[in-house]
């Protein structure tokens, strides 16, 4: 009884606070060219305020408001490494008033390895646009050899730091070790990527794979050096550092692991909507996001706040998801699971 009465109170409080934000929006004046005008649109963020996803959502929200006439509320719903918010999104009304600024790579990986708590299907979630994606760099301590070749030749065990078993840090380390047949140990359990970086700087581990923006920053004080880029192209932050593919001629079966992980990388930070949306509404949202994310003024603003944008069309992304989630054989999935989760623990 009591909790019911309290949740009513909580709802009242919520309603009041939402009211404050939404009260200035005109009552939904439906306009065929601007179907969301006057509506309140929620952009879910699966992490606490202050992180990268939150920053991207808050940076883009005003532009979405301007284009659609809707009022945007960025809602932080942290939990389950972002899974909880996505699980909630797929249950939300698919009318364009609910969206999520998603860690697309993480969501696909979690579904692929059948992580506990996954209650969504990425092949059914509606993709609106890729907002950004990042290159990854390999960093080592200053007293380590200067090239991957020397490290490989030395044959010594190298320790990587990471946060969890399948996050961007440990995945890339695992596929790198698998592709180059390195003797690796990936130590997981660091609280965040910054702490994982600190562990390399204080010598607790030898190496780290991390997004190029952060990697470039860590390498500036001489406490770490960048020895390779992971990807098909060099990082704009470190144009003088060659990619792993440039440094090595990999056998196809070895190269496969890196290619596989890089195909998921293309997904990056992505804006998604619940499944089951009416086609015209979906098309409208996809068009709005395309216009926002390719607008030179928005791009300039994003670069200034060091949150660069790299739009990719939903069609391309959908093709990739299907390839990854539907065309892999059960044996191959088992093999990937083994490499990512067990082999280097």
């Amino acid at each position: 009884m009591r909790s019911a009465c309290i949740s009513r109170r909580a709802l009242l409080a919520l309603a009041l606070s939402c009211g404050v934000f939404a009260s200035f929006a005109p009552a939904s004046a439906q306009d065929a060219s601007m179907p969301l005008k006057g509506e309140t649109v929620r952009i879910y963020v699966g992490f606490s305020p202050g992180g990268g996803y939150d920053a991207y959502a808050r940076m883009l929200a005003p532009h979405f408001e301007k284009k659609t006439g809707a009022t945007v509320v960025v809602e932080n719903r942290p939990g389950g490494g972002g899974l909880t918010a996505l699980n909630q999104l797929v249950r939300a009304k698919p009318d364009g008033t609910n969206m999520m600024m998603l860690n697309g790579e993480g969501a696909i990986m979690a579904q692929l390895v059948k992580q506990d708590g996954v209650a969504y299907d990425m092949t059914k979630v509606n993709t609106l646009a890729r907002v950004a994606h990042e290159q990854h760099l390999v960093l080592v301590r200053p007293d380590m050899p200067d090239t991957l070749k020397e490290i490989q030749a030395a044959g010594k065990k190298i320790k990587f730091s990471a946060v969890g078993r399948i996050d961007n840090l440990s995945d890339y380390a695992a596929v790198l070790c698998e592709a180059l047949k390195l003797d690796c140990q990936i130590i997981v359990g660091y609280k965040g990527s910054k702490e994982a970086g600190l562990a390399m700087m204080n010598g607790e581990v030898d190496a780290l794979t991390i997004s190029d923006g952060s990697g470039n920053e860590y390498a500036q004080g001489g406490k770490a050096k960048v020895i390779a880029a992971i990807g098909n192209a060099r990082s704009p932050f470190k144009p003088d550092v060659a990619t792993v593919y440039e440094q090595f001629q990999l056998a196809p079966d070895r190269k496969w692991y890196m290619d596989f992980r890089l195909s998921i990388k293309d997904f990056g930070r992505v804006m998604v909507a619940p499944p089951g949306m009416a086609p015209d509404r979906l098309k409208y949202l996809q068009q709005v996001w395309k216009e926002i994310l390719t607008d030179p003024a928005v791009l300039a603003e994003a670069n200034k706040s060091q949150r660069p944008l790299s739009y990719e069309a939903p069609e391309t992304l959908n093709k990739t998801i299907k390839e990854i989630l539907e065309s892999l054989s059960p044996d191959k999935i088992k093999d990937i699971n083994e490499v990512l989760q067990k082999k280097y623990s």
Partner: protein
Amino acid sequence: MLDAFLSAGGQVFHPTVLAAMLFALPIGLVVGLLPGISGISALAFLIPFTFGMEPLVGLAFLLGSYTAVSQGGSMTAIVLGIPGEVPNAATVLDGHPLAKQGRAGYAIGAALLASALGGIFGCLILILLLPVMQPVVLAFASPENFFLCLAGIAFIGVLSSGAAVRGLIAGGLGVFLSLFGYDPTEGIPRFWFHFEYMLDGVRLIPLALGLFAIPEVLALMTSGKQIARGDSIEPISYRQGFQGAVAVLKHWGTSLRSSSLGAVIGVMPGIGGVTATFVAYAMARQTAGNPETFGRGRIEGVIAPEAAKNAEEGGALVPTLALGIPGSSSMALLLGGFVILGLQPGPEFLTKHLDIAFALAIICAFGNVVASASMFMLSKPLMQVTRIPGRVLAPILLVLVVIGTYSAQNNSYDVLWVFIFGLLGIAMERFYYSRAALLLGFVLGELIERYFLVSLKAHGPFFFMRPIALTIVALVLLGLLWPNRHRITRLGRPA
């Protein structure tokens, strides 16, 4: 170096910078007074306002509000027994009993001066460490963090006045609750009963507010009486506050020890404010005479956590500026603010912007003093709250607690949990189990598990054979055994 310092002083005392800070202070004070709404929320809310500001103006704005939040949080801890922020829970232990005796002013005065001095101390540490920051931060790896957390847990028995066994049971329960949800290293969910919310286990804010706020609200509701009771309640005046401030100077040893501890814990990324305040409290109890009177309104029990808390924030700026690695979650947000303002903290930051680093330290110290002074002005109406009848106060508090809990993560399950933990809090209070011990066990349980497993994997079974780690162990043993030194020496002698 002196140039940078003087230039920093000149920049900070520029009218626009001062105005930004003074404008932000009241916002911070209000946020601090609202239970559950943390400094992190305040920063998240304020960061968009800094768009387009000059970097230093924006930073003054953010830091100014942030320093004020913790002062607000200690006020509710003393006056209402409800921690405004989780680290303030340690202040409840002795601050609230003082309020009940009608001496809220005394506790408020002590808390404000202690936190102002602690804040200044933390910033001094920051200034002193600026040139040598990197090696200091880098000297602490996982094994050192593990032993620091272990040191914290060793003090759990101390936290529970006169009932060490009950304290340990409560601490154990806290550790147990910390085991729910994703395990901190491999990410495998434990005890989640296929219930999505439980993937992240028990949340800190519902736990802290449930344990401390709900029993207080219930007591006010059922008795219907005001908080300050007793036969001879002093009239409300600033005199009490001054007496409290004098007490801080009288117990300068406690203030200094707690501030140093807070600053050291702040320097280590990831250990956090709750550990700082509780360990400082336990240390004060160990070193003061008549430890059994703690928990019934000892002023040292207010001074220690307050000094530690504000010193901790100064310390937390060290790794944030030196390495771009935030010393606390609020610092993580502040770091985001830096980037928006076009500054990139990290190794390069100190060579390029040493003056800004100094300026931040000065803002931090100055903000602490101004926040304390303005809170002191507000102390009279705050003391008045202790004289409001419970039946009027209780419903208002309940609404604030519910909103505060909900707003932390926008999750209505949190609100449900605040009541479940409220029941636990009521039972614990009734049977004299220390709620503080439970909270400390909960916070440290996760950290200990994380750092232990990482240390073991990265350094092998002899991870403790490191000079700093062994020094921490020695200091803890000394701290625990010192009050019993006479008993120990007696053991050595023949009967």
